[in-house]
Amino acid sequence: MSRNLVVIGAGMASGRALEHLLQVNPGAYDVTLFNAEPRGNYNRLMLSPVLAGEKTYEQIVTHDADWYAAHGVTCRFGEKVLRIDRARKVVIGENGEVPYDKLLLGMGSTPFMIPLPGRDLGGVIAYRDLEDTQRMIDLGLKPGAKAVVIGGGLLGLEAAAGMKARGVDVTVVHIMGHLMERQLDPAAGFLLRKALVDRGIKVMCSANSQEIVGENGHVTALRLADGTELPCDLLVMAVGIRPATKLGAEAGLTVNRGIVVDDHMVTSDPDILAVGECVEHDGALFGLVAPLYDQANVVAQTLLGQEARFVNKEVSTKLKVTGCDLFSAGDFADGEDREDIVLHDAAAGSYKRLILKDDRLIGAVMYGDTADGGWFYNLIRDGADVSAMRDMLIFGPGYQASTPAEPYGGLCSLTG
């Protein structure tokens, strides 16, 4: 007799977990899936290509209605979960309660909104879901439309580039000295900024937002601390996310910044598991997709009674803005014990920086030519000793033959 599994949140992490679970043992659970959004799982990472007009929503749906039907998943989409009653082991939704044997939390995160005056005005949005995306797409239909994006990180820049592609006059306001400071060093950030400016996006770094100005309940401008006013019809805040922990906290689970899970993705309640952006594992929060998928695999196995442990590995980042090729992986902070190999190509406008520690590659930042990103990522992930290939390391896997095929190993100009 199969048991009840209730899943809260149809995001990418829980979607992957279900996929895995149902593939390995389709009969293990009767699954009920709650989602506050009135739809199933789509690839949230691909909202930017949708915004940029490079993909349609249909193309980014990962699990459509047929899939859920075929796998016997009971979908309760568009229904908010009000409460978890751990004593009775039921999930209480707006339309009634569902008992669970196991509960999987995948509520994801909520965008962080800076508490600026005027943040409740109309036209002030985050960049999180299809609704936000549609707002930005619609803005492009209005001639002469202006938008301000607060936040020069991955998401903010994708939003800016997408709106620009739809004809919107976009200004990016970033509080830090260079763009994507969590992924890029200043040199790469500079090249990225130049590329965005070249395509007509205004970029203001080291810029402090002070107030969102509005008229008739709708945003009209962003005012900066130095008094500059940036008129806009839409203001997008993309300054970070917060794990969605409310349900878990109210249910009495252990919550720090996120819902705390162990290596098996089990919360402080052995029958409640959690996955994705809502969790905190070993003090770490998660925003990039690769570790979420790892978590999804672990949580699925745990649900099936298999031994699996989540290990937080290095991640790599790639900006999905066509024409701005950048790649970042690992740790690239400066440090006494770290060594850099840096490539600048002014002609091609490209940049690569490798960060080594103890003869191992620990970080890589690339702008312009990212073709070898995967290779570097593997070296970081595997912790390979790169001392023997150091001279040629930055040139990628195509140049790792041990010596040039020339006399004397190409060490001098003697060939006779």
Partner: protein
């Protein structure tokens, strides 16, 4: 090579200006404005063969570094002012200090007509014998040996003897690199005649050793002892030609006695090898012993020559087909120079300066006012006299003694301190011309017109096919002008080289009447047209004789008419290894460079083979001294110091090192190996001992090593640098003890690229840097730096220069990477071909496995459907197969 005006309408037959083989070449104009050089199939020296240097002649005649007008103290001057200054300074110096206060130092590169005028001006009119030639560095011991044995400086045989011989002994000769066409002739002969054997006697194993049936790695300087032993064996084995010796040779007993007392173990050879050699030599009647600089450039060079000649005289194996001693000369006209008296101890036409009858005949013929009675200063003594201020004015023509003389730094200092230095050359960019007060632009190969004589006494024409560039003039013309300005109008009123040649042919007739070998009086009436069309011919050329071998008839040119065998006592080289200088330094040539590189270095092709100066050192010595292959080594001697690239090889024996002698200050910071060579000379010939100096070797402690390519000529100032032309630009090796503050700034200066866009890779902790400069999408220069000898595919970079600069900084071609195909996984840039290949090769069956193998689909995951589709398609295809 652009816009050369080719004078003749069609092909020009001329002679190669490099080594003493004297190959004929055919030059024809190319539509592109350059020239094409081919081997002359009809020239007796090469019969259609040509070596790398000859083949590349077309690449050496462009005007890039040519001097186009006279210079006085570095400033452009008119010919009138420059020559008036030369004439007046020489006249004034002679008036004040006597004729021996001036000197000419000339060259085996000069044509016979130039040489004749130089000798006539100095010995006949200035009245000094202070004219010597760079042939002193090359052939003087052979001259002395020939004269002692034969009574005259005569090469007995001809090149066909090399092909007719059953045994060719190559001693002190890297024929494969230094006389490649003769080497090729021997290779072909050996192939055609399987019983033919070759013995190579050389302390080093060289390219020549490849054809040797026996290589004798003799101790430096051991030749005389080896040939003494051979003489003893000839005697003991009853191989003496008693009839020939009895009738035609003096000194046999003394020679054999001296040889008998010689210890052959000083050769460093095993008794078995010595016996094998002696038995081969004695047992093979048709034997030619070829010898070159390894024999000549020695403080016992003349004795070595005579030790060889003794063996041929004792067996009568001389002047007969396929047998005889054979001196091969280094320079294109060393022989011509010897014929006209270019050496300080000779008169023209093999007449002797110190013979009153000879002197008188020449004085009368020239209507000379004054003739010296004693030999002048030989090269080493000449520059010593310059250093001591006894010679106050010197005119150096067509040679580069600051590079080629032993103790070269002392020669440099001597010229720096000399009151008046004149240099005639193609370019002012030579180490010697840079020290001159007056530099005169001379014509070069392709422009000059005259004759040269090769190692087998073959006179052939060098013909001009290009106009003199700028204001350049022929050497004979420049010297004649100075002669006239010094007051000797009639004697130097020459209008053409043909006129000079005829005068010289007439004088040779007088020499012939005085019993000398060199007689070309048969050419005395040669008209201008006949001179122009003169075919190669072997001297003598008289009414009764044309060419052929000498001495087969037993007639020699000594007073007695008999040859002389000399008692030869082995002498070690004059420098002795010590704790301070433990290595014996050998010097020599490389395959693709010529002398001090003024011509061969203009060819990119010739510059690639060995593009920097180097030191061959034995692996055991290198290991002991902590020297790794391609390290820079500092070589020091009591005379000087050099920085050279270490070439670790067992081609040299432990305790011995070898360095090529070509590099100059124009091409390397410290590659002039003659600065290391002691100025010890042979007491008879005055030839320096260039191959047996003693040196110390240590690793140069470089902070960084570099390699660069550049379209602009590099401007290096590092302790070690060596540059060579490459394609349309340059390549340069660097090593230094100071690290620049900023590599990009340094590279911009070095490669003269102030504005170009830069590509830079830096590894500051490791000391690595790579900088490429790009202009209009093309690579104009690149510098590679590392803390160790920098690993770059140098030829690849050289070819990249001027081309699209993609991946220039990698410094090597990428491995054969298959085309990844259209990108499927954008996060990790994984292409469709890569994925399909991995599915097939690694037998992947799931999207997860693809992810594990290639990372594809492991980030955003949006390509997972495409991965799944690729998997399905692959498996369908596999199933169908």
């Amino acid at each position: 090579m652009k816009n050369l005006q080719f004078a003749p309408a069609s092909t020009c037959k001329t002679t190669c200006p490099y080594c003493g083989v004297g190959c004929g070449v055919l030059v024809s104009p190319e539509k592109t404005g350059g020239i094409k050089v081919k081997a002359d199939p009809d020239h007796p020296a090469n019969l259609g063969r040509l070596c790398s240097k000859g083949t590349a002649l077309a690449e050496t005649i462009w005007l890039d570094d040519r001097l186009l007008h006279p210079q006085v103290n570095g400033a452009r001057a008119s010919w009138d002012d420059a020559l008036e200054l030369v004439a007046q300074r020489f006249k004034g110096t002679i008036a004040e200090h006597g004729p021996d206060s001036v000197a000419f130092y000339v060259s085996g590169q000069l044509l016979t007509e130039d040489y004749y005028v130089a000798n006539k001006l100095m010995k006949g009119f200035i009245g000094s014998a202070n004219i010597d030639t760079n042939s002193r560095l090359c052939m003087a011991s052979s001259v002395a040996g020939h004269k002692r044995a034969f009574g005259t400086d005569t090469v007995p045989g001809q090149y066909t003897d090399l092909e007719q011989a059953d045994l060719v002994v190559l001693t002190g000769s890297n024929l494969a690199w230094c006389h490649p066409v003769l080497y090729q002739r021997i290779v072909a002969a050996k192939k055609a005649n399987p019983k033919m054997k070759v013995v190579n006697i050389d302390p080093r194993r060289t390219a020549t050793s490849d054809i040797a049936d026996l290589h004798l790695a003799i101790a430096p300087g051991g030749d005389a002892a080896l040939f003494n032993r051979l003489l003893v064996e000839i005697h003991e084995q009853g191989a003496v030609d008693s009839s020939f010796v009895g009738q035609h040779v003096d000194g046999f007993d003394d020679a054999v006695n001296a040889a008998s007392s010689c210890d052959s173990t000083v050769t460093g050879l095993s008794e078995a090898d010595i016996r094998a050699f002696c038995n081969m030599w004695i047992g093979t009647e048709k034997v030619v012993t070829v010898y070159s600089q390894g024999v000549n450039q020695s403080s016992a060079g003349s004795d070595k020559v005579n030790a060889i000649l003794n063996c041929h005289l004792a067996t009568g194996r001389i002047g007969q087909p396929g047998m005889g001693p054979f001196s091969v000369t280094g320079q294109p006209n060393a022989m011509g120079g010897r014929e006209v008296g270019g050496l300080a101890n000779m008169l023209a036409c093999h007449l002797d300066l110190e013979n009153a009858e000879h002197r008188s005949a020449v004085k009368t013929f020239w209507a000379a006012p004054d003739m010296p009675e004693a030999a002048g200063l030989k090269a080493v003594d000449m520059f010593n006299a310059v250093a001591e201020g006894r010679i106050k004015a010197i005119w150096i023509m067509c040679t580069n003694p600051v590079v080629s003389m032993p103790d070269a730094d002392a020669v440099k200092a001597a010229l720096e301190g000399c009151d008046f230095v004149v240099v005639s050359d193609l370019t002012a960019d030579t180490d010697t011309a840079k020290l001159a007060h007056v530099v005169l632009p001379a014509t070069g190969w392709g422009e000059k017109d005259g004759t040269v004589t090769n190692s087998e006494r073959c006179i052939s024409r060098q013909r001009g096919f290009l106009p003199a560039p700028g204001e350049a003039r022929h050497d004979w013309d420049i010297m004649s002008d100075v002669g006239r300005r010094m007051g000797w109008h009639d004697a130097f009123d020459y209008q053409s080289p043909a006129e000079i040649f005829r005068e010289y042919a007439v004088l040779s007739g007088i020499a012939g009447q005085l019993g000398r070998d060199f007689d070309i009086s048969g050419l005395s009436d040669l008209g201008d047209d006949a001179y122009d069309s003169l075919e190669p011919l072997h001297w003598p050329v008289t009414a009764i004789r044309a060419g052929g071998r000498f001495f087969g008839d037993g007639r020699f040119f000594t007073p007695s008419g008999k040859a002389r065998m000399l008692p030869i006592h082995f002498r070690t080289p004059q420098s002795h290894p010590s704790a301070q200088y433990p290595f014996r330094l050998n010097t020599g040539r490389v395959r693709d460079h010529w002398h001090t590189m003024t011509r061969s270095a203009k060819s990119s092709r010739l510059s690639q083979h060995l593009a920097e100066p180097y030191l061959e050192i034995h692996p055991s010595d290198a290991t002991r001294l902590g020297i790794a292959p391609a390290d820079i080594v500092r070589v020091t001697s009591p005379q000087g110091a050099s920085l050279l690239r270490a070439l670790v090889t067992d081609r040299v024996h432990a305790g011995q090192v070898f360095a090529p002698m070509h590099w100059t200050a124009q091409y390397a910071s410290a590659g002039r190996v003659d600065t290391l060579v002691a100025a010890h000379t042979d007491p008879v010939s005055g030839q320096p001992e260039s191959k047996a100096s003693v040196v110390n070797v240590e690793k140069f402690q470089a902070k960084w090593y570099g390699f660069a390519v550049s379209l602009a000529k590099p401007r290096a100032d590092t302790a070690y640098w060596a540059q060579a032309r490459s394609g349309d630009g340059w390549r340069i090796e660097l090593a230094a003890t100071d690290t620049p503050e900023d590599w990009e700034t340094y590279a911009r200066t070095l490669l003269n690229a102030p504005e170009a866009q830069a590509q830079i890779v830096q590894d500051p902790k490791r000391g690595g840097a790579r900088i490429a400069f790009v202009q209009d999408g093309r690579l104009i220069g690149a510098l590679f730096v590392a803390a160790e000898p920098v690993q770059v595919a140098r030829n690849h970079m050289a070819h990249m220069l001027g081309n699209v600069a993609e991946d220039a900084l990698a410094g090597r071609p990428s491995a054969d990477r298959p085309d990844p195909g259209a990108t499927i996984c954008a996060c990790f840039d994984v292409g469709v071909n890569t994925i399909l290949a991995a599915i097939a090769e690694q037998k992947l069956v799931s999207v997860e496995q693809i992810g594990a193998a290639l990372n594809a689909g492991t980030n955003c995951g949006s390509c997972r459907p495409e991965l799944a589709a690729l998997l399905a398609a692959s498996h369908v295809q596999q199933a169908a197969e």
